[in-house]
């Protein structure tokens, strides 16, 4: 499993915190490995308690007639209830875990020098009520 922690500083600003009304998450993944991956995006508050979690699994790529067919995954998710947004405003860290799932067949091991790639792209759209 690969994991990393990112500071989320946008909510250090009081105006941003007070006026946020909705958050849309957009995630795109591409898997060229012939193995499944599990991706977990965890947003945490200062006490490392989860404010929101996104769990996704992406299927493995397949080899067809000698050609590798990657798997694509697009995921959109919306936070628009007041309780969900209120919790999300407490976010201070984001942790992204990428886990290589076991392959029961054992026929597709990832070996050193494998040129396949796994890409993860994300965007967040934040909506604010400016009080107009």
């Amino acid at each position: 499993m690969a994991s990393d922690t990112t500071r989320v500083e946008i909510f250090d600003n009081n105006d941003v915190r007070n006026q946020l009304t909705r958050v849309d998450f957009h995630i795109k993944m591409k898997n060229e490995f012939q193995r499944k991956f599990a991706v977990s995006v965890r947003f945490l508050d200062e006490n490392y308690s989860a404010t929101h979690t996104i769990n996704l699994n992406i299927d493995k790529a397949t080899m067809v007639s000698g050609n590798l067919l990657p798997v694509y995954l697009n995921h959109d998710e919306q936070l628009d209830t007041s309780s969900a947004v209120a919790a999300f405003k407490q976010t201070r860290f984001a942790i992204i875990d990428v886990t290589l799932l076991p392959d029961a067949s054992g026929v597709n091991p990832i070996v050193l020098g494998d040129t396949a790639a796994f890409s993860f792209q994300s965007a967040g759209t934040f909506y604010f009520d400016l009080g107009l």
Partner: protein, 455 residues
């Protein structure tokens, strides 16, 4: 290779405004303050003294493409719909302006039949802000639905100044037909905020390695301020206590024929050297941000976050300093042509004017003011009439950017040695201020004496 990218949209928040066209006062020689617009105005007086702080009070507001009712009238149309409509028709050349003046002192006297001296001191507040169309759109709509749209920093363009003006003017009759005048001004700027030469663009495009890519290119944004020190402004601040500046007015009055009058003037050709408590805030540079780009293994997100911060600091110079700066005043140019007729008034001023001796006058005036983005213009047609030698009225119809139907009325009354006057602009708009895009009022009291009243 595993790529981990976190991308966050962000909003740039920017808050960022005039009308000092005195078409009713211009060339209204029965009012001594008309010499402040054209120092060559031929006053019919030998002496005038303004009542301190009451001789000239002026206030104006103008927005060329916006009225309060656009957003706030109760008509069952959702606010969001009104806001969308307003933003759709707003251009970055639209503006809001406010101007206000209070005359604290105004004295004038004739040295002889040819020369008239005038001097005084007034306070002025002036504010203009162009509508920052791109920034308003960015704030209201965000950058998400506008991928590939270019938001220009140059839309941020505004200036505000609060100052005191000491002035001394001379009006000289060169002949029965030609008068020239000049006024020297010393400005004392109390407060100044200025942000008028911003450059750069912000764009969000579809990214190569992430969903979106944010591009800040060639940003050169600055906000300059002066006068915002620990010490609160006081009367002395308006009397040489602020940042100093110098300026001049000059003009002429010419009677090519006995009943014809041609005038022209330039007002506030000057600059202020903003040095008192000056500050300059600036942001310069370019940066493209596409989100995090972590390589596993070996790079921690915290390390990368710090690297991104360091890189932004390196490429975008965002700082402040105490350097002074120079600002130009908004120079105004007036011109007019008028024809006098009617009964001849009794000659009382020996001022060389031949046209002023008639009870009625009709004519046209033009007005230009030089503003940060572009000059603004106005054209006025007027009728002036003197009733019973003590009450003069001027009705003016002005076409300008605030209104195609600006009807104004000016009255000057002389009772004994007391001169009372009032002007009111855009009278049709006064019926409902929420629908008005501009309004200006002025009034004042002077002691003004003609020759026969002195001798």
């Amino acid at each position: 290779m595993i790529k981990n990218k976190l991308h966050i949209f962000f909003l740039l928040v920017s808050i960022t405004a005039f009308a000092q066209h005195k078409q009713l006062l211009y060339n209204f020689s029965e009012i001594p303050q008309s010499q402040l617009l054209n120092p060559a105005t031929e006053l019919p007086y030998r002496l005038h003294v303004g009542i301190p702080a009451l001789s000239g009070i002026y206030a104006s507001y103008g927005a060329n493409n916006f009225a309060l009712e656009d957003l706030f009238i109760a008509d069952n149309i959702p606010f969001e719909t009104k806001m969308n409509s307003l933003l759709a028709r707003t251009a970055n050349t639209d503006y809001i302006s406010v101007n206000q003046q209070i005359e604290l002192l105004n004295i004038g006297f004739a040295k002889d039949d040819e020369t008239y001296f005038s001097m005084g001191w007034y306070e002025e507040f002036d504010y203009i802000s162009y509508m920052p169309k791109d920034l308003l759109d960015l704030i209201y709509y965000g950058n998400h639905p506008d991928a590939n749209r270019v938001f220009k920093a140059s839309d941020l363009n505004f200036k505000m100044e609060l100052l005191g003006v000491l002035h001394f003017g001379i009006t000289k009759h060169l002949s029965d037909r030609f008068t020239i005048g000049g006024r020297f001004k010393i400005y004392s700027s109390v407060l100044n905020v200025n942000s008028t030469h911003n450059e750069g663009e912000f764009t969000t495009v579809v990214g190569n390695n992430n969903i979106y890519q944010h591009i800040l290119s060639n940003a050169d944004i600055n906000i300059k301020t002066a006068g915002f020190g620990d010490e609160a402004p006081n009367v002395g601040s308006f009397l040489l206590g602020g940042s100093k500046g110098l300026g001049v007015d000059f003009g002429f009055t010419w009677h090519p024929e006995e009943q014809w009058t041609v005038t022209g003037s330039m007002q506030d050709l000057g600059m202020i050297f903003n040095k008192k408590d000056s500050k300059q805030f600036y942001l310069k540079g370019s940066y493209t941000f596409e989100g995090f780009d972590l390589l596993y293994p070996g790079t921690s997100a915290n390390d990368y976050w710090q690297e991104v911060n360091d890189e932004i600091d390196e490429r975008i110079d965002n700082d402040e300093n105490d350097a002074g700066y120079t600002t130009w005043r908004s120079t105004k140019i007036y011109s007019s042509i008028g024809y006098s007729f009617g009964k001849e008034k009794s000659k009382v001023c020996n001022c060389g004017s031949s046209s002023g001796d008639y009870t009625s006058e009709v004519g046209f005036q033009t007005y230009t003011i030089f503003r940060p983005k572009r000059p603004q213009y106005a054209l006025t047609a007027y009728v002036k009439h003197t009733f019973a030698n003590f009450l003069t009225a001027k009705v003016a119809y002005t076409y300008d950017e605030y209104s195609p139907a600006n009807l104004g009325l000016g009255l000057a009354m002389k009772i004994g040695g007391v001169n009372l006057y009032a002007t009111m602009d855009n009278m049709l708009g006064l019926q409902d201020l929420t629908r008005s895009k501009g309004v200006a009022v002025m009034f004042g009291i002077n002691v003004a004496l003609k020759k026969k009243e002195l001798y």
